[in-house]
């Protein structure tokens, strides 16, 4: 139920300055936004929640571990891929989009605990933070650098499969 609500809400709020209040509700439910670049017009149909924090006993560390394990490309950012709230997050998203890979993201502005949890997990004090195939890559400076050097293309080679890929545990 909440998932379709999330979809409906997300469809209605792209580009709107009122998204903050709505996103807060979503993020309290722990919805992860999934952005697909396959149709670049930014159609809202591509937004779908893929997981939920149904159980409040799940620790932040578990959430982050799950995020980076289940999503080949995972970005913790300010805002959302279609509407970044900060220049660095915007840059990171643009670089990743240029490689045509599906991007999973969480908006750390709407959840202070998540923000602290991610910082502690990666031992990195700023955002955005990008993980590829479970490996912490760095922030926007690093991802841009890797894009320019060609290293990012290499890293992303294993990351073009769909978001539902799960490795055997």
């Amino acid at each position: 139920m909440a998932r379709s609500l999330a979809n409906t809400v997300l469809k209605g709020i792209i580009g709107s300055h009122h998204r903050a209040a709505t996103c807060r509700t979503l993020c309290q439910q722990g919805t992860i936004a999934y952005y697909s670049v396959s149709s670049d017009a930014g159609t809202h149909d591509d937004f779908k929640s893929i997981s939920k924090l149904a159980d409040s006993d799940i620790s932040l560390k578990d959430v982050v571990e799950k995020d980076v394990k289940e999503n080949p490309v995972m970005i913790y950012m300010k805002g959302i891929p279609e509407a970044p709230a900060c220049g660095f997050s915007s840059l990171a998203v643009r670089v990743l989009k240029a490689h045509g890979v599906p991007i999973a993201s969480r908006n750390i502005l709407e959840d202070q605990e998540l923000k602290s949890g991610v910082k502690a997990f990666s031992h990195w004090p700023t955002f955005p933070q990008i993980f590829i195939n479970g490996e912490f890559i760095g922030g926007s400076d690093i991802i841009l650098n890797m894009h320019q050097s060609g290293e990012l293309t290499e890293k992303l080679k294993g990351a073009t499969t769909s978001n539902t890929v799960k490795r055997d545990d």
Partner: protein, 105 residues
């Protein structure tokens, strides 16, 4: 932790001075350029009004970065600036190179 000092003769803002000093000491940097670009970020999410000394561009050249990948270099810098990051420093755009990397090309 020292609070903001008001040395009228010091043109550098306090945080910038502290950052420069910490990095120069620890990294023995041959080149260290630090610019306060907070004005470019004033008003965006997470930054309070009258933003000052919240965002910097940093370029540092040090042989201590030899053999370190970018993540490690940035972590070295972030670790040195832990106090600043806890007290209002929001972001640093970092260019961290070794002497060979700047002279070699």
């Amino acid at each position: 932790m020292r609070k903001m000092s008001s040395k009228a003769t010091n043109l550098l803002q306090p945080r910038a001075s502290r950052i420069k000093q910490k990095l120069e000491n620890a990294l023995e940097a041959s080149i260290l350029e630090l610019d306060d670009v907070s004005y470019k970020h004033a008003g965006h999410a997470g930054v309070k009004d009258g933003a000052n000394e919240t965002h910097f561009n940093l370029k540092v050249v040090s042989s201590k970065f030899d053999g370190q990948n970018l993540v490690k270099r940035h972590r070295m810098i972030y670790d040195l600036l832990g106090d600043e990051l806890q007290s209002g420093l929001h972001a640093i755009s970092i260019v961290a190179k070794t002497p060979k990397e700047v002279g070699g090309k």
